[in-house]
Symmetry: C2
Subunit: 110 residues, 2 copies
């Protein structure tokens, strides 16, 4: 599974998106991240593992706590994919515009 697959699969889960949203406001440890949810702590730890593997967060050590930080670089492959998709889309639109701009009853060569 590519890093892009992993990142997209990771953020397709609303719990994990909420976690990232929280981390965008500053680092937080597991208990703090788990607090807003009805889920068990192990469930949150598992979500964090998914986010870490996807390169979307990093984790440190502070005594017994494991503070998590958002890793914005993890979004780069997603940005790149979106950009490429849109660039191709634009090229397609431009091509269609060119076709319409030609006089269809007169011109024939590309």
């Amino acid at each position: 599974m590519s890093v892009l697959d992993q990142a997209l699969l990771a953020i397709s889960d609303p719990t994990r998106r909420a976690i990232l949203g929280r981390l965008a406001q500053g680092e937080a440890a597991v208990m703090e991240l788990a607090a807003p949810f009805k889920m068990s702590q192990p469930a949150i730890s598992q979500h964090l593992k998914v986010l870490e593997k996807a390169g979307l967060i990093t984790r440190g050590r502070d005594g017994t706590r494991r503070p998590c930080r958002l890793a914005p670089e993890g979004l780069v492959p997603l940005d790149a994919w979106l950009s490429e998709l849109r660039a191709n889309l634009e090229r397609n639109y431009a091509r269609l515009d060119d076709l319409l701009a030609e006089d269809p009853t007169q011109e024939k060569k590309s």
Copy 2:
């Protein structure tokens, strides 16, 4: 499952991303979309159903063919989420910068 969940889950699959990539260059029917893959045609139809439910493609009818088109509006929720995440991140950075700009040995109020 929210529309954002659906869109992200949809594009987390490399086959579906490839299909979207192909459609970015212009509309195409199912057989044409299936051609590059080793998968069966029903598998592609199922992927297309996922993309359609996620609002990422639309489908027409042209005789016996079902031409598919990219629906860029389907990416709007994703754009919105990414923007908000980054806006929060920026706010966080700005706040940290402010804290550092204060003289920590002298100032105390926020």
